[in-house]
């Protein structure tokens, strides 16, 4: 039974050059109708797959704050209406420093949102422009201040590294600024060039100078060291938190637990089935209108797949994957499936086995994919 909900708001006032998520330019989109259909999808989903309570809600995008205060309010109210919230729930909304304002933040807070994820990406004005963001470095601090004023006590900042032509000095400066902010959580992602983006166009023509492996690896190490000194715990490959502020929602994914996914292009994992919703708005909306459900793809996860996913998601956490946990979940010893892989990776210095769990070593953190692929069992 899922204990987490993801809601997708696929609208943006400006499309970032690197973004390949399901998103649409806001202008002239049927936003109100979309919100209503989300309500319908929530209603149908909850009646088909009921849950006792949810401990985390995540509203992401796109840009949720591109909605008007009123629209955002309606959507959030519906979430509250249909999903029974657990006592210590976490409810996050992604916030774009450019389009958030005090009214929106206050509205969210009133309804029950208690965590904001602020898309800062970098504090370098030129880089921000280059990657197509519509905010300026100063907007981040402003948004943080407004959020605190509105009553938020759990704030997260998103950063990106490995941006085109980004230097170590620029990245260090960004880190310096981010640790000075009164925030509790930091996610730091590497830029990956994906098809159907402006960056892909440039990159494939050789017009996007990337920092390269070496520098990216150095940046990652810089990130780890700086945030550790600033009192953040590194708890997942890309995530850092002050004690007690680890993201419940993201842990849902890494612990391979189930979640609802609402909205265009959203992914869900409910009662052993992974589903993907239609991405294009007309498709999503027609499907909800006609059948009540917008599924584009459904996949019953086999036990083997579940075990693979448990490993390659679980190992992203610095705590790693616990033997007991694996046994409790699958009724079989982790070692009886993956013994050879584990020993080899331990031998290669990529994994550590302390008897009760296995974890990535510092070296393994940088080469996570090399580790994860070893836990894929089935032949293609």
């Amino acid at each position: 039974m899922p204990k987490a909900v993801y809601i997708h708001v696929p609208f943006c006032e400006q499309i970032c050059h690197y973004c390949d998520f399901n998103k649409f330019f806001l202008q002239n989109q049927p936003v109100d109708e979309y919100i209503e259909l989300c309500e319908m999808e929530i209603k149908n989903t909850i009646s088909n797959f009921p849950t006792e309570e949810v401990s985390s809600v995540y509203v992401g995008g796109g840009t949720p704050t591109s909605l008007t205060t009123d629209q955002l309010g309606r959507l959030l109210e519906w979430v509250k209406e249909y999903f029974p919230l657990a006592e210590n729930y976490e409810w996050s909304v992604e916030v774009n420093p450019g389009s958030a304002n005090f009214d929106k933040l206050q509205k969210m807070q009133e309804i029950g949102v208690n965590r904001l994820s602020i898309g800062a990406q970098t504090f370098d004005a030129a880089l921000l422009k280059k990657i197509g963001r519509d905010h300026e470095p100063g907007d981040v601090e402003k948004t943080v201040q407004q959020a605190i004023e509105a009553g938020f006590t759990n704030l997260s900042i998103d950063l990106m590294m490995g941006l085109p032509e980004q230097t170590m000095e620029q990245f260090q400066e960004t880190l310096r600024q981010v640790v000075a902010l009164p925030i509790q959580h930091i996610s730091a992602y590497s830029l990956k060039i994906e098809p159907k983006t402006v960056f892909y166009q440039l990159w494939s023509k050789g017009k996007l100078p990337m920092p390269g492996d070496e520098l990216e690896a150095d940046m990652y190490e810089e990130l780890r060291n700086t945030l550790k000194e600033a009192g953040f715990t590194h708890y997942e490959i890309s995530n850092f938190a002050k004690k007690g502020f680890e993201s419940t929602h993201n842990l849902t994914y890494w612990n391979n637990e189930e979640y609802y996914g609402i909205g265009a292009g959203a992914h869900s994992y409910v009662q052993g089935v992974r589903r993907i919703n239609h991405g294009p708005l007309p498709k999503y909306m027609n499907a909800v209108k006609q059948s009540g459900f917008p599924y584009r793809e459904e996949h019953q996860v086999s036990k083997t797949e579940a075990m693979e996913e448990h490993m390659f998601m679980g190992l992203r956490k610095l705590d790693g994957v616990s033997y007991t946990n694996f046994y409790n979940r699958f009724g079989i010893e982790m070692r009886s499936i993956f013994s050879q892989e584990i020993d080899r990776l331990v031998n290669d210095g990529l994994l550590r086995d302390n008897g009760s769990s296995i974890q990535l070593t510092d070296h393994g953190l940088l080469l996570g994919n090399e580790v994860f692929e070893k836990f894929l069992l089935k032949e293609q």
């Binding site: 492996d213 693979e308 290669d348």
Partner: protein, 610 residues
Amino acid sequence: MKHEDRVKRREKIRNFSIIAHIDHGKSTLADRILEKTSALTQREMKEQMLDAMDLERERGITIKLNAVQLKYKANDGEEYIFHLIDTPGHVDFTYEVSRSLAACEGALLIVDAAQGIEAQTLANVYLALDNDLEILPVINKIDLPSAEPERVKQEVEDVIGLPQEDCLLASAKSGIGIEEILEAIVDKVPPPDGDPAAPLKAMIFDSLYDPYRGVIVYMKVVEGTVKPGDKVKMMATGKEFEVQELGVFTPKPDKRDELTVGDVGFMVAAIKNVGDTQVGDTVTSAENPTDEPLPGYRKLNPMVFCGLYPVDTNDYNDLREALEKLELNDASLQYEPETSQALGFGFRCGFLGLLHMEIIQERIEREFNIDLITTAPSVIYQVHLTDGELIRIDNPSNMPDAQKIEYVEEPYVKAQVMVPNDYVGAVMELCQKKRGDYLDMQYMDENRVNIIYEIPLSEIVFDFFDTLKSNTKGYASFDYEMIGYKESRLVKMDILLNAEQIDALSIIVHRDSAYQRGKIIVEKLKQLIPRQQFEVPVQASIGQKIIARSTIKAMRKNVLAKCYGGDISRKRKLLEKQKEGKKRMKSVGSVDVPQEAFMSVLSMDEGDKK
């Protein structure tokens, strides 16, 4: 048929083929001739071809349109039997071309009225002359704005020595001059001679494996007569078969009661293996055999060798089966099992040339779905040992120690390159770079030059033709023939990955260029081999001496640090793709090496950086 009828019929037969450079209009002219002679419209012809294809489906007869029988009513009122015999168009198959030509008495030489004579044309003209064919020059495409028929006529006279006035002017595309060509065939191409009553002598010029009926032999009857039920013998292999079916292509297969002198057709005789029907071999009667086979037969020897290994060692048996199946239809493919320390079990395969090699590789990968590692192509080296023994090496890794070698010889070719004046420099530079020895340079006319070099075959087998084409903007035409072995200062160069010698990467190089080549190869490998989890030194050595070195740095970072949210399937796909990619690489020692790296030892070009 009575003896006199056979003799009379013989006088009406004209066997000819068409010689042309690519794009000079060979197939268009063939089409025109088919139209004119079989009195078929194009539409009817297509239908007939489609019928033939239906037949193919129903009865499992595979049709290869390379010897067509046609009827032509000439101006003298008589009806003539034409056999139009097709020839393969690539230098790898020169021998097959020569055998196809040997089945003819005449040849139409097509020369483009704008382009003039090309190297390939010339090579085939010489083959035709070797076979004593009557050559009828045809200047084609005379209606092109850029046509210069007078100049080309002059060229034909100067270069080949055929009188200008013998040149026929035509445009196959527009149907100009076709009648004259057909009349010239009747008038100038001599009828075959040979006694229909003599013991059978038929020359095999091609064969084809048909899964339902065994090998279909394409042959020309030179002497005697053959009928279904006759016992025949292949003179080179000594194998005997009973003739089941005989016929000609019109163009669809048309059964006949007999094939006699001058006939060009097919024979089915429950032959299981194309190896039993060697091109150039003589088919005779088993009961009443001829004493002497037809001249000109030779067993085809592969000139280019490489190792073929399955990427996945479990595919070894599949690879063997694939080679067995391909061999059924390709007598010139040779293979034998081979073991490499680096690549495991595979086969050393011999090919007629590089094109042949590429065709076979591609068929194995595509038709049999086996991922292959191909080692760098090699030629056969003759190694004279200090104890007087001579050994032949087709795999560089088998080269004996330097101190045991007296000297090494390698095969040379005489290469003929024809280019416009402007590119003489480029061609000579390339030939020099390929260790060529200059022989001669002839001006075909004021603008075109025939450059002749002796070049080691090993330099030709890799990228010579491609480089030639690109250095001359596609203007050069090229042909070569083997001229035997010459002593060369050759050494074996080994490649070491992570201090481990990789036998499949060893090559034989000229001593003078070894350092240069070693440097290029280690750099190339550095680019091609992806970073591993540890640092990998790449070294080139001659004997114990390291002559070049580079280092593949250890992989620093490979981790998905992108925010995919709940999109687990995407993470999974990425990991699956990564894993799949590694499966396509060969794990050599502890290093994952991609397929293309094994060919990289041939890279010559320093500027060839990815």
